[in-house]
């Protein structure tokens, strides 16, 4: 973890959470921390414990051991006070399909003890602000998947939760709906909400999260900003030469300046090599290639995707396997 300097400003703080369901150990000592006003992305494969972690933090499940505080309240002992400050959107749409969008919003507002008129006003405001006003008086049953999820997300906004838990908010949505949900989340964060979201999609974490925690088999195995995590893999220099004959010369140049072993692909006429801060600049590399008579077709420095990070920290193809739980992240 990368605890911020001011520990008191951690809106979500979980330490050593354990949870077991029968023979399955869902959480095995999970730590999490989310500073105020930021987005934490919890990344992990199916069954890694993401949902269990969210359910514990949102007071739906009690941990077997470990402590967790959200917005300053203990999730077990002060669950009721805490519920006044959190919003939760689960994996399945949790709005009432047999009510209209507006009826849903008003009902949730009333359950948060707004007066009838205040709840109606708030519902209209939020539906308008998040682009659902046109469908407000239709049964949610008739909404598209994306609209349902959006309603689900904003249903928590009838009051202003200081922390919002989103459990895989875009799973199963089409690309357009996903980007709409992302816009909504960004809007909420700008308005001061702290968000903890779980996802299987690395681009989602990359898009939304200030910090990412990669969890596997119930433990955090890596954490940091998306940029920081990408440094685990490091950047790569990709070079495409015009003539396959110059591949050997090009490889020779890159081996000298690179930060690791080069990978050559003859049919594609490419050389790829890890680079780091001490590597020479791109101009310098081009100059040296020129000196050796290498005609360059394409050259570029590529930052790794979170997918590559994820595969690396979870042990490549065996993501989710037991062996990886011992792997310590680079945070």
């Amino acid at each position: 973890m990368e605890p911020p300097a001011d520990g008191a400003d951690l809106v979500v703080y979980a330490e050593n959470l354990h949870k077991r369901f029968g023979k399955t150990e869902a959480l095995r000592g999970l730590d999490l921390a989310v500073p105020r006003g930021t987005v934490l992305g919890v990344l992990g494969p199916n069954g890694s414990g993401k949902t269990t972690a969210v359910r514990i933090l949102a007071t739906l499940t009690r941990p077997d051991s470990g402590t967790a505080r959200v917005a300053g309240f203990d999730v077990v002992r002060q669950a009721d006070e805490l519920r006044h400050r959190i919003g939760l959107t689960g994996q399945h749409s949790s709005v009432d399909l047999k009510l209209t969008g507006r009826e849903n919003m008003v009902m949730f507002g009333r359950l948060y003890h707004l007066s009838k008129s205040a709840a109606e006003k708030r519902a209209a405001e939020v539906l308008e602000r998040f682009g659902l006003a046109h469908a407000a008086d239709r049964l949610v049953d008739t909404y598209s998947g994306g609209m349902r999820r959006r309603l689900d997300l904003i249903a928590s906004l009838v009051f202003a939760p200081s922390v919002l838990f989103l459990d895989e908010p875009t799973t199963g949505l089409d690309p357009r709906s996903r980007s709409e949900i992302w816009d909504t989340v960004r809007d909420l964060v700008r308005a001061g909400t702290t968000v903890l979201l779980t996802t299987q999609y690395l681009d989602e974490a990359d898009q939304l999260a200030d910090h990412v925690v990669v969890i596997d088999a119930g433990k955090a195995i890596a954490s940091g900003t998306p940029d920081r995590l990408k440094e685990i893999i490091g950047s790569r220099l990709d070079l495409v030469v015009r003539d396959a004959a110059s591949l050997a010369a090009a490889t020779g140049v890159l081996t000298v300046i690179g930060a690791g072993a080069p990978e050559t692909d003859e049919p594609k006429r490419t050389v790829s090599i890890p680079v780091n801060d001490t590597s020479p600049s791109l101009t310098e590399i081009l100059r040296r290639l020129d000196q050796e008579g290498v005609a360059v077709e394409n050259i570029g420095i590529r930052r790794p995707t979170l997918d590559e990070v994820f595969l690396k920290v979870t042990g490549g193809a065996s993501a989710g396997s037991e062996q990886m739980t011992s792997g310590k992240g680079a945070a």
């Binding site: 369901f21 499940t61 919003g87 049964l139 009051f159």
Partner: protein, 284 residues
């Protein structure tokens, strides 16, 4: 996306502390959730119509199709004998309806959202059972109207009739908590629907349609001690319909009103805390 507005302010009220305050909010929240179920009905009139047609179908089915060949012990009109049985049967089949509604909420994640809302743990259940109570009163009234059309009459005056009605409603309310427990325990709506055949025999192995005295000896005690039978007998007694208690019957049939009250209290004592406990500790 429209321009960003300042964050919505949370209601400033601090969580309730005093027991009285809490109780009041439990009822307010419960009532909001009662209205939720009633709004469902408003949106699907088909469901409401089914609810109202069902009694008429039962009267035709049991009163005329089967009833034409059944002779009431001790004499009397079979349809007058039958009606209390049908009143009770509608009440008990309500168990499956409420179980289905609760299971749907669990399956669709609505229950989880309710759990994350700062309301009394029991409010959700009071909402479900409260709505079922209103539906139950409505369908009982319709059933009685159908019975009246088929020749069923009140013979002992309005006060006793009201007592009978109150017992029907009380028992329905008590068993609706069993429905909540079932609904919370099953995986989804479909599983709940599959349990309908289980509740049906419960209403049949009773004195609803035929007297328990004529059943084989191994089945007879079940029918006699069935809460359905107590309530049916209580209704016959209070409405003054054929099939009054006769000497030699089991205790619940000789003291049907007391037996019904005891059954209702027992069901509530068992299933209200059970439902709240299951709600508080979800499986996953």
């Amino acid at each position: 996306m429209t321009a960003l507005q300042p964050p919505l302010q949370p209601p400033l009220e601090t969580p309730a502390r005093s027991a009285g305050h809490r109780l009041r909010w439990t009822f307010v929240d419960g009532w909001i959730l009662v209205k939720r179920i009633l709004t469902h009905l408003k949106h699907s009139p088909g469901q409401l119509i089914t609810l109202l047609i069902f009694p008429a179908i039962m009267v035709v089915l049991f009163g005329y199709v089967l009833g034409s060949s059944i002779v009431v012990p001790g004499g009397g009109n079979y349809r007058e004998y039958l009606m209390p049985g049908l009143f009770v049967m509608t009440g008990f089949t309500g168990v499956m309806a409420i179980a289905g509604r609760v299971a749907a909420d669990v399956g669709r994640g609505v229950m989880d959202r309710f759990r994350a809302i700062p309301m009394a743990r029991s409010a959700v259940m009071f909402g479900q059972t409260g709505a079922d109570l209103i539906i139950g009163v409505l369908s009982s009234v319709v059933m009685m109207a159908c019975g009246f059309a088929a020749g069923w009459r009140i013979h002992n005056g309005p006060v006793r009739a009201l007592e009978a009605f109150a017992l029907i409603v009380l028992m329905r309310y008590a068993v609706s908590w069993l429905g909540v427990c079932l609904g919370l325990r099953v995986k989804d709506e479909e599983t709940a629907a599959n349990m309908v055949p289980l509740i049906f025999p419960l209403t049949m192995i009773s004195n609803s349609f035929v007297p328990a005295d004529r059943m084989p000896s191994w089945l007879r005690p079940i029918a006699e001690w069935n809460p359905v039978s107590s309530l049916v007998a209580a209704c016959r007694q209070l409405f003054g319909n054929p099939g009054q208690p006769t000497r030699g019957q089991a205790w619940p049939l000789l003291h049907p009103v007391t037996a019904t009250l005891l059954w209702s209290v027992a069901l509530l004592v068992v299933f209200v805390p059970a439902a709240i406990r299951i709600y508080r500790t979800p499986k996953n």
